[in-house]
Symmetry: C3
C-alpha cells in the first residue's frame, strides 16, 4: 500500500513545501501540515460505526441502537445560546459554523503550527484574521490530523447527516465544499429553528450569567410560533470566585440585576437567591459550577460577614479569598437544598494555561488543561449536610478519569443526592465513554448516571454527539449481553432510560 | 421493543406513584424506585457467562474455566465469623441472609432513596426497622437497579446455584420467593456446615480482634465431627490507631487478654507479640491491617517509649499519635519478619463518610469511600528493612487502581516479599479484575499475585465470588492465548496456580 | 488437563525441593522457583501474535502490520553504547547477552528469590557471581515466571527471529541452548555491525554524558566501512541535579571537557552550551532528562548567580539545591529554544528504592519505582515561555499512565512544541500501549505522537521491540477500522507515519 521507503516516505513534504515552512515555523517543520492529502474520497459514515466488530455482538448492538436512535434529544447542559434560536438568523459559512468557534478543532490545528489568526479567531492585538474561505481551506488541508479524534466523528456526522455532504474535506475539495455549504446554509431548512426541529430536540439548557435578563429565553417562550423548550442554567462562577480582579465588578453587576445591595454578605447572598428565583421563573432547573476543587465551607453568619468584608475591602489574604469562594459554593449547596435546583459541579482544570494566547484570543481557546481531582474529602462537608436531603441534588463531572471508580461511583452508590456526570470535555469520546461505564457500573449500576450531556458550543454537533453516545452505549451494553451478564430486554430498557429518564431525573427537567 | 415516546417513557412512574413519592422523598423523586418491573422472568445464569463472545476465544476460555471450576476454594481473607460454623444454626430468611448484612446491597438501595430502616439495619436511635419480609419486598422491587453490578452477578449465582431459585426477584415474585427461601433455609443441607462442605471450601480465614479468645475456632478444631479448616487472622487496627478516643480502652482489653501490662511501650509491644503467638497457635498465618497509608516508622526504643508516653498520657499532639501509629505498624512488620506471619495491608479509605449514618447505623454501612493511594514512598522504610528478608512477606491491597501499574507491579516485580493483592472491595468485579490483570501482568507476570480473596461477609456468596474470579481469569487468559502470547497449556497451568498455589503461597496457608 | 487436587497440586514442589528451599530462602518458600517445568516445548512465535482474534479484524490488522513490518528501524532513544558498534566484538554467551545486563529480567527473577549474584551481576562487596552457564540455567528454569510479561515476548522473538532458536528455554534445554548460542554468537553474522544491518536500523541514538568525548561515535563516522547512523544524545542529569554529593565532581568533569571554568553560574551555563554544541557537531539532535518532576525555574542572572554560589559553596539549603536544579532545567529549555535540540523529558521515579541493592549492585538493577506525576502545573512556566516558539520542541514521557488522558494529550493537543512520548519503561508492553492509544488519540489524534522508542540496553531486543510496537499499532488501528471509525487506507497511512515520519519529526532526526 505504501511504496515509500525511508528515503522517500509516503507522507514527506515536497522540498518546496519544506523551504516554505522553514522560513516561517520551525516548530511544525516536521509536522505533516503541508502534506497533500486525499483527493475526492467519499464521505459516507458507516451505518454500523462505533458498533463492535464481532458479528453476534454487533447484531445485539444494532438492535439496541435502533431502539433509541430516534428518541428525542434531551440536552441538559451545553453552550448554545438562546439568542441563536430567538433570532433564527441563518449560519453564514462552514468555517464560522464548524471551525472558528470550536476550540476542540482550533486547538489541534494550533498544535500543528497554525495560528489562531489563520483560524479566524479574533485577536485583541488587532492582527488580521483569515477570511472564512481561508480558514475553511486550512481546515480541509489538515483534516487527516483529526483521524481518531472525537471531533472527526462529530464533524463527519454533521457534514453528512445534517449538511448533506458526501465528499471528505481535503485540499482538493475545500473550495467546492465552501461554496456548496455556504449556499445550503442560506436555505430556510438550515436555519436554527428548523434544525432544532429536525434534530428532535425536546429540551435544551443554555448556560447563563446570573445577571442576564434572559430576554432571549423570554422571547422564545412568548413567541407563539415557537414550541421548543430552551431553559437557562444559572452559572455564577464569576460571582463566587473572590480571588479574581473582576470580582468587585461582578458584585456590581449582580446588584444592578437584582436591585439588592451586594456590599455586604447578607445582601450578596440575597441577591444570588433573587437571581436563582428569577432563573427558576424562566424555567431553569439547574445551576452549573466550575470550581478549582469541590470543597465547600459553612461558616456561621458573623464569621462569613467578616470574611466577606476583608475580601471585599481588599484587605483579605489569598487564603481569605479562597475560603470565601468555598463559603459561597457552600451557600449554593444550601440554596439548592431549599429551592431544589440541581447543582452541576465540575472541577480541576487550569484555565488559560498559555497566558499570551489568553490575552490575545480570550478564554476557551483550547488551553484549559486538566488537573488531578479529589472528591472524597472535598465533597464531604457538603454531603454531610445535604447528602441525604431529598430536595438536594448534585451532578458531579470530572476531567480526571481516576476518580470514576475510586471516588465518584462509591459516592453515587451511597448518597441519593449524587448523580454521576457523564464523561465530559476531553472525555466525551467513544473510548473514554467505554472506560467510564467500565469504571462505574460495577459499583453504582446504571441508574445513578445522569445520562449524556453534549456540552457543546456547536449547535449542529448536538445530534452527532447524542448519536455517538447512543452508539457507544449500545456497543457497551451489547458486550454485557454477549457475555450473558444482562439479558437483551434489560439492556434495551437500560439504554432507553440512559437517554431519556436519567437526564430528566438527574437535572429535574 | 420500547414503544414509549418522550411523553410517556417506558419507565416513567405513574402519576399516583409520583405523588406518593413526592410526599416522602424528593431526592429520589425521579429515581426509578417505584417503577413496576418484571413479572416472572426466569433466573437462569448462562453457563458461559463472563466468557468472551468471540467463538474461538470462548472455546479456549471455556476449557480453561472447566479446568478450575471444581478446584477447592481457598479463602485467605474474609469476614465470615467462626461462630457461624461453630454454632451451625440455620439461616432464617432471605432478607437476613442476602440483604440487610450486605453493605454492597444496602448502600445502592440507599442511593435510590430507601432508608437503612427500610432495609432492616438496626438503628441506634431506636426507630423501628422493617421486618424481613418487608426488606425482601423492597429488595425485589428494586432488583433492576443492580443491573451491571457485581452484586447482581453474585446474588443471581447464590439464588440459583446455592438456593435453587429459578425466577428473578421482582415485585411480583417477592412473597413467593420469601416463603420458598425461608422454608428451604430451614433444611439440614442449608445449614452453614453443610454448605461449607458443598461449597468445596478447603481453608477459610476469618478476621479477628487480637483480644478475641478464639473460642469458636477452638470449638471447631476440637469438634471431631468437623473436618474443615477455619483459621483466625490477627487484625490489630484498633490497637495501632493511637489517634482514636477508643485507643486507651483497646490497650486495656489487650492487657487483659495477654496478661501483660500495656501501660508502657515495651509491655504494649510484648502484649501484641503474645497475642500473635496465641493466634499462630490457633492456626493463624496472617495479620491484616487497614491503615490510613502504608507508612511505617522505626524509632529506637527510647524514642518510641517517650512517644508512647506522650500519646498515652494525652499530652501528645496529633502528629505524635500519627507517628506512633506508624511506629506500631513498623513493629508489626518487624514481628512478621520474625514470626513469619504474612502482613496483609490495605490503605486509603475514608471510613464513615456520612457521620449521621455512622452514628445511627454503625460502621460498614456503605459509606467508606476510597482515597488516592501512594505506596512507592510509603512502603520504602519497611521494604528497606525487610524487603529481602526471607521470613517477611506482605500482600498489598488497594482501592486506587492507579497504583497497580505505577507502583504495585514494579514493587512486586523486584521484592520477593511483596505479593500483589487481588482487586478488592469496589474492585472485585469482572471488568475491574480484567483491568487489574492488564495493569500488572506485563510488569510482574502471574506469579507475584496473591490469587483471589473473597473478602465477604456473606457466607453464601463465597462460591459465587470464587466462581466469578475463575471465569474472569479464564476469559482473560483466553485473550492471551487467542492473541498467541501464551499457549493454552501454559494458560491452563497459570489459571490453576492462580486459584490454588498462589493464595497458599501468598498467605502461607 | 490438570489432574492435581488440593493435596497434590500440579505445580507443587517435591518435598525434597521444599526442604532445600526452606534452608536457604523462606521468602520464596512457596514461590514456584523449584518447579520442574517444560521439557522440550517448541519455540515458534505465531506469525499473527498480538493481532486481535476476531477474524475480520485480524485480517485488517495483518494487512496493516504487513505494510510496516519491513520499514527501517528508527531508534531515537535507547541505551545501546556506540562502543558496541565501534568495537564490533562478538557477544560471548546468552546469559551475558540476554540476562545479566537486562534489569527487566533480573528484577523479576530477584522477586522470585534469586539473588543478584546468582544472576551474574557484579557485587561491589566482592561476593562471587555465578558463571554465565549457571546464570543461563537459572534463567531457563524460571522461564515460566515471565509468562504474560513484555520481556517474554521480546526474548522469544530475539531467540527465534534473531538467534534461530526453536525450543523453549527450560531446565531440560538450558545446557544445549547455552552451547548452541555461545557457538552461534561467535559467527561473523552475529557481530554487532552485521546485526545492525540485518535489523534494518536506519538511525540509532545513544545516551551519553556531556563530558564524553564521543570517540566511539567519531570512530564510526570516520570508518569508511561503516554506513550506519549512530548519533549521541546529550544527557546532563548529573550536572543538573545540584542535590547530590556528586554534583561538585560533575562540575569539574564538565570544566575539563569544555575547557571553561564552571565555578560560577555564567561559566557553568556556558560550559553546558559548549558541550551541546559539541554534541550537535557529532550529530546529536536531542537532549534527554530524567528529573524528579517537570518543573523549571527562570530566575534572572543575578539571582541565579547568587543561588549557584550558595549551593556550590555548600551553604545552600535543600530548597536551594532543588531550585537550582529547576533553574538549570529551565536553562536547558532556553538552550533548546535557541539551538533546536529536542528536549526529551521524563519524570517521576524513585531511583534506588532498595538501598542495599543499590550499594552492592549499582544503579539500574530493577528497583527504580514510579511515582505519581503531574505535568499541567509543572510544565507551565516552560511552556509559557517556549510553548509556541518554533525552534523549541519537547517530547514528554511518563511512568504514570493517569496523565496520558488528563494532562499530556490536552497539552500536546494545543502546544505545537509538545510531542507525546510513547509509553515507556514499565509501560512499553502491548496492553499498556493499547491503553496509551485509547487514552490520547481521541484528544490529540495520531500526529502529536513521537512514535515508538525502544529505550533498550539490549541490542538484540531492538527488532523485537519495534516489531511488537508495529503489531500493537496494527491491532489497535484494526479496531478503529473494524468499528468504521477510520477507513483502512487512512489507517495504513497512520501506521506508516507512526513508525517513520513521527519519530523523525519528534526527534528532528
Amino acid at each position: 500500500m505504501h511504496g515509500g521507503t525511508a528515503d522517500t516516505p509516503a507522507s514527506d513534504p515536497s522540498p518546496a513545501a519544506r523551504s516554505d515552512r522553514e522560513t516561517r515555523n520551525l516548530g511544525s517543520a516536521n509536522a505533516p501540515r503541508d502534506v497533500p492529502r486525499g483527493g475526492r474520497a467519499p464521505l459516507a459514515p458507516h451505518p454500523d460505526r462505533l458498533l463492535p466488530p464481532e458479528p453476534t455482538q454487533r447484531g445485539i448492538a444494532r438492535r439496541l441502537y435502533d431502539s433509541v436512535r430516534d428518541l428525542p434529544v434531551i440536552s441538559p447542559h451545553g453552550h448554545v445560546e438562546a439568542r441563536l434560536l430567538a433570532d433564527d438568523e441563518p449560519f453564514t459559512d462552514p468555517a464560522s459554523l464548524l471551525v472558528t468557534p470550536d476550540h476542540y478543532v482550533t486547538r489541534l490545528l494550533h498544535a500543528h503550527g497554525l495560528t489562531m489568526n489563520e483560524l479566524g479567531v479574533r485577536d485583541s492585538d488587532g492582527a488580521e484574521q483569515a477570511a472564512p474561505r481561508e480558514v475553511w481551506r486550512a481546515f480541509c488541508e489538515h483534516w487527516h490530523l483529526f483521524l481518531g479524534t472525537a471531533s472527526r466523528q462529530w464533524i463527519e456526522a454533521e457534514l453528512h447527516d445534517v449538511l448533506g455532504v458526501t465528499v471528505q474535506p481535503s485540499a482538493a475539495t475545500a473550495d467546492e465544499l465552501f461554496d456548496e455549504l455556504t449556499e445550503r446554509l442560506s436555505l430556510p431548512e438550515f436555519r436554527p429553528r428548523a434544525l432544532y426541529e429536525s434534530f428532535g430536540i425536546e429540551a435544551l439548557a443554555t448556560t447563563d450569567d446570573p445577571a442576564d435578563d434572559l430576554a432571549h429565553h423570554r422571547a422564545l417562550t412568548e413567541d407563539p410560533s415557537w414550541s421548543g423548550r430552551v431553559v437557562p442554567t444559572f452559572r455564577p462562577d464569576r460571582y463566587l470566585d473572590a480571588s479574581t480582579p473582576d470580582w468587585p465588578a461582578a458584585l456590581d453587576a449582580l446588584a444592578e440585576a437584582s436591585g439588592i445591595d451586594t456590599g455586604d454578605y447578607t445582601g450578596f447572598v440575597r441577591a444570588l437567591e433573587n437571581r436563582r428565583e428569577y432563573f427558576r421563573a424562566h424555567g431553569a432547573t439547574a445551576t452549573d459550577h466550575s470550581a478549582p476543587d469541590a470543597r465547600t465551607a459553612f461558616l456561621d453568619g458573623d464569621e462569613a460577614q467578616r470574611l466577606f468584608r476583608r475580601v471585599h475591602s481588599g484587605t483579605g489574604s489569598d487564603d481569605d479569598a479562597r475560603l470565601l469562594s468555598q463559603q459561597l459554593l457552600g451557600e449554593m449547596a444550601r440554596m439548592s437544598s431549599e429551592d431544589g435546583m440541581v447543582m452541576a459541579l465540575h472541577t480541576g482544570v487550569r484555565r488559560g494555561h498559555h497566558p499570551e494566547t489568553l490575552r490575545r484570543f480570550g478564554p476557551d481557546t483550547g488551553h484549559d488543561i486538566p488537573l488531578q481531582a479529589e472528591f472524597t474529602g472535598a465533597l464531604q462537608p457538603m454531603l454531610e449536610r445535604f447528602g441525604t436531603n431529598p430536595r438536594f441534588q448534585t451532578v458531579v463531572f470530572t476531567l480526571d478519569e481516576t476518580v470514576f471508580s475510586r471516588e465518584l461511583a462509591p459516592l453515587a452508590g451511597f448518597y441519593p443526592s449524587v448523580y454521576l456526570g457523564a464523561p465530559w470535555w476531553f472525555l466525551d469520546a467513544p473510548r473514554a465513554m467505554h472506560r467510564f461505564r467500565d469504571a462505574v457500573t460495577e459499583t453504582a449500576g446504571f441508574y445513578r448516571n445522569a445520562g449524556f450531556i453534549d456540552d457543546t458550543r456547536g449547535f449542529c454537533s448536538i445530534p452527532a454527539r447524542h448519536d455517538t453516545a447512543r452508539r457507544v452505549d449500545a456497543a457497551h451494553l451489547s458486550g454485557l449481553v454477549a457475555e450473558h451478564l444482562i439479558d437483551e430486554d434489560d439492556a434495551a430498557r437500560v439504554i432507553h432510560d440512559l437517554h431519556d429518564r436519567q437526564p430528566r431525573a438527574a437535572f429535574r427537567l
